[in-house]
């Protein structure tokens, strides 16, 4: 077991190194000059060139790469060209809204999707099953930016049920900041509940057709116990996998929702960083996201051990 974890952690470093290299190259292959953007429209080419020198962007790309790798190995992801702050500090400031947004939307999706998915599988072909599938299809098909805009306009602006955007002012408490995440969490949760619902239903359908379920029923075991204790437990592995991946996706991919609701999270930061050509922030964000994916995958695999005792590494 310890050897397995060690092996996975080693693999994680290799993945992160590859991501680091690809991220470095991609951002520099893209055209666009951060110095020109920072100085504004009236800046002369000479001023732009001088700022490029000041920011170290005119150094040979190989030198820039090695400096970046050596510093990254020591936990230094560089300094944001735009904010003039360490990238780790910039990213850390965005972690809270993103993590809680992901968490809330995942909870929302699980609360909605898991019971419906289980019941839809249990009552396969029923009106509820078909309605659940159709609704899930619809939810998955509507882009989250559209849902976000509609919810924002009608639930926040017109009805005043939620704040329309932002993450609270300077004096907002933690609870108040969380209040700003309710509507975006619902928007994100709707999309992801469709995925989780379909996985739960499919997984449960497989298990409910197994011999041991029939055996349990023939022994006179009550239906709730059959479904919830025997079927659900065995259907859990694919569901956990999709939950893990969904969470990673939410942390890294709530770009549109964060933009629409102006939440100062990682997604919003990455979009702004790309538009500003803030290379160190783009690189740093990619490294964090890649690490998160690998880590969540590892945690998911370890969770299998507790859910299914037959699993051995």
């Amino acid at each position: 077991m310890a050897r397995y974890i060690l092996k996975r952690i080693l693999g994680m470093f290799i993945v992160i190194f590859l991501v680091l290299t690809i991220a470095f190259l991609i951002v520099r292959l893209a055209p666009g000059d951060p110095a020109a953007l920072m100085l504004g429209p009236e800046a002369t080419p000479e001023e732009t060139a001088a700022l490029r020198t000041e920011l170290g962007l005119d150094r040979p790309i190989v030198v820039q790469y090695f400096t970046f790798v050596v510093n990254a190995a020591q936990g230094d992801l560089g300094t944001s060209l735009f904010f003039r702050q360490p990238v780790t500090q910039v990213l850390a400031a965005r972690a809270e809204p993103t993590i809680f947004l992901a968490l809330f939307s995942l909870v929302f999706a699980l609360v909605i999707a898991t019971p419906i998915g289980i019941y839809a599988a249990y009552r396969r072909g029923s009106f509820l099953d078909q309605s659940a599938i159709s609704t899930a299809m619809l939810a998955a098909s509507i882009p989250s930016f559209w849902t976000g805009l509609m919810f924002q306009r009608y639930l926040a602006t017109d009805l005043g049920l939620f704040p329309a955007s932002g993450y609270g002012g300077p004096d907002a408490s933690f609870i108040e900041r969380m209040g700003y995440l309710i509507l975006p969490s619902i928007v994100l949760g709707i999309v992801n509940s469709a995925l989780i619902l379909r996985f739960t239903r499919a997984s449960m359908l497989d298990i409910l057709g197994e011999d041991y379920i029939r055996t349990a029923r023939s022994k006179g075991m009550g239906e709730p116990r059959v479904v919830l204790r025997h079927a659900l437990k065995n259907a859990a592995i694919p569901i956990i996998t999709v939950i893990g991946l969904t969470f990673a996706l939410l942390v890294s991919g709530a770009v549109v929702t964060e933009r629409v609701f102006n939440i100062p999270g990682m997604g919003n930061l990455v979009v702004s960083a790309v538009l500003r050509r803030d290379y160190p922030v783009i690189q740093g964000a990619l490294i964090v996201v890649a690490s998160l994916y690998v880590l969540i995958n590892l945690v998911t695999d370890l969770l299998y051990l507790t859910v299914d005792k037959r699993v051995r590494y």
Binding site: M38, P41, T48, A156, A164
Partner: protein, 520 residues
């Protein structure tokens, strides 16, 4: 309790809040203490993005000007009629008859945010830095012989040659000649210390910039007029909130989250007009779209081809495609709008010809060989792209082969510095109070527009100090713009901002300010 909290989020409590309030009652949310958005004495201002820097010397971006003018001040500013007015200076300078010496009195009793007092030494150190590091300062540095403290509260600027736009440059909040304490002067200033009516309390990048009233602020006594005169500090706090998505700014304003929102989409005008929370604020006109012409390299170094481009463009159609609503554009040729001192009709008959036949003839005269005309544009500003699409059709109908290079704004910013890769790039500008504040006329700009006649007129224009003569020279300069096609003005457009109903004291401006603003 929960109902109250929801009301705080939205600035209003509705009956429809009740079910949700009931749902939240007893939950953790109901324990929240303190408002998220304080009412009354705090102004929440939604701006289009984060300011790159709080040092206005270092950027020519409008968003930097909008924010920094609240905590950093200059010797001069502009009044409501865009005339130069004193701010940190005691009055307008004494200018010698030969136009070479500017004697500027400095106000006594002005305190910096760090508690120190401002005097001539601070002004001299700041102006020296401005001449060294600021885009607009560097542009005038070769004409300045010296900046000296000629008293504790007097500064003298000596010029090598007369340069009439100097005061406008000293007054402009963009690449501003800001005054800092001598002690903090360096090439890069980490913590900006100004004399403005508000000072920085907290900056959370991409969340808010919180400014609080500077209690020791020394305001001028004259009546407020534009940015000039009394600055009353009516709000306790001003919070600038970067909201990059225009639709989010609209919803935030309409839901009562913001007191002011900048840069709103034209489509939201009707909603703003019809709702009970906010009012539209139309800046009419705000600025002008520009086809910047490459005189350094490529196809448009040939005057006949430039004239052909100008002849072919259907400005009406381009503006309609770009803005879609008569409320938002004016098909107007002169470089300054009606009512401005610089307004002249000289040369404007060449505007909006929409004559592709004439353009074709000019192309024949030029011996045009079918080399593609490269239009560099971006969809960052959708109206740039839409104009380019219409222009392309008209130019092709005149016989041009057109190559559209549509890139993001960052790429455009980089490519326009290389004259080998574009013929026209599209940009826009607000109308500036002094023509010389734009670099478009300057032969050293990235356009590289130069001909002996224009250069002579421009030199005379920038060195002439008599206002009436300057206006005559500007008319000649504008004529050159059309006759030599220095660049192409594509009419004028309006900009939409929005205010909370009852917000007073915010004049319509490309660089809105809030020191005299309050919600009634």
């Amino acid at each position: 309790m929960a109902l109250k909290i929801i009301g705080k989020f939205t600035g209003k409590s509705s009956l429809l809040s009740a079910p949700l309030a009931a749902l939240l009652a007893g939950s953790a949310l109901s324990l929240a203490a303190g408002p998220a958005f304080a009412e009354g004495k705090t102004l929440d201002v939604a701006i289009i993005g984060e300011a790159d820097t709080f040092d206005p010397m270092m950027s020519t971006k409008d968003v930097v000007s909008i924010v920094t003018q609240h905590f950093v001040e200059t010797l001069y500013t502009f009044d409501g009629g865009w005339n130069i007015a004193p701010l940190l200076a005691t009055g307008l300078p004494e200018i010698s008859d030969d136009g070479l010496t500017y004697k500027i009195g400095i106000r006594e009793g002005v305190t910096f945010h760090d508690g120190s007092s401002m005097d001539a030494k601070d002004v001299v150190a700041s102006l020296d830095r401005w001449l060294k590091v600021a885009t607009r300062g560097k542009g005038v540095a070769d004409k300045v012989a010296s900046v000296e403290a000629t008293g504790d509260y007097e500064v003298t600027i000596t010029m090598k040659e007369p340069y009439s736009p100097l005061l406008s440059l000293l007054a402009f909040s963009n690449s501003a000649a800001a005054v800092y304490p001598e002690e903090i002067i360096a090439d890069t200033i980490e913590t900006v210390v100004g004399t403005g009516p508000y000072k920085i309390a907290e900056h959370m990048p991409d969340q808010h910039l919180q400014l609080v009233r500077f209690e020791d602020y020394a305001s001028r006594d004259e009546a407020s007029d534009g940015a000039a005169g009394k600055r009353e500090q009516l709000a306790d706090e001003i919070r600038f909130i970067p909201v990059p998505d225009p639709n989010t700014r609209v919803e935030g304003l309409l839901s009562g989250q913001f007191d002011f929102a900048d840069g709103l989409p034209a489509e939201s005008y009707k909603r703003l007009e019809e709702n009970e929370t906010a009012d539209p604020l139309l800046l009419k006109p705000f600025g002008w779209p520009i086809f910047a012409v490459n005189h350094k390299d490529g196809l448009l170094t040939d005057k006949n081809i430039r004239l052909a481009v100008q002849a072919a463009l259907p400005i009406d159609d381009m503006l309609f495609a770009a803005f879609g609503d008569d409320n938002f554009f004016i098909t107007d040729g002169p470089l300054y709008p009606e009512g401005w001192a610089w307004r002249t009709e000289a040369g404007a008959e060449l505007f909006n010809q929409n004559d592709q036949t004439r353009a074709g003839e000019l192309l024949k005269e030029a011996g045009y060989d079918g080399t593609p005309l490269r239009i560099l544009t971006s969809r960052q500003y959708e109206f740039h792209f839409k104009m380019a699409e219409v222009a392309k059709m008209a130019l092709e109908s005149a016989g041009f082969k057109v190559q559209m290079d549509v890139v993001d704004w960052a790429t455009l910013g980089q490519r326009r510095d290389d004259p080998a890769v574009w013929d026209i790039y599209i940009t826009h500008s607000p109308f500036l109070p002094e023509p010389a504040l734009t670099s478009l006329y300057d032969k050293s700009s990235r356009l590289g527009w130069s001909n002996p006649e224009k250069d002579k007129i421009l030199d005379a224009f920038t060195s002439e100090t008599d206002i009436a003569k300057r206006k005559e020279l500007f008319a000649e300069l504008q004529k050159q713009v059309f006759e030599d096609v220095g660049f192409i003005k594509i009419g004028a457009f309006n900009a939409l901002q929005g205010t909370r109903k009852g917000l007073e004291g915010v004049p319509a401006s490309p660089w809105p300010f809030f020191w005299n603003a309050q919600v009634q």
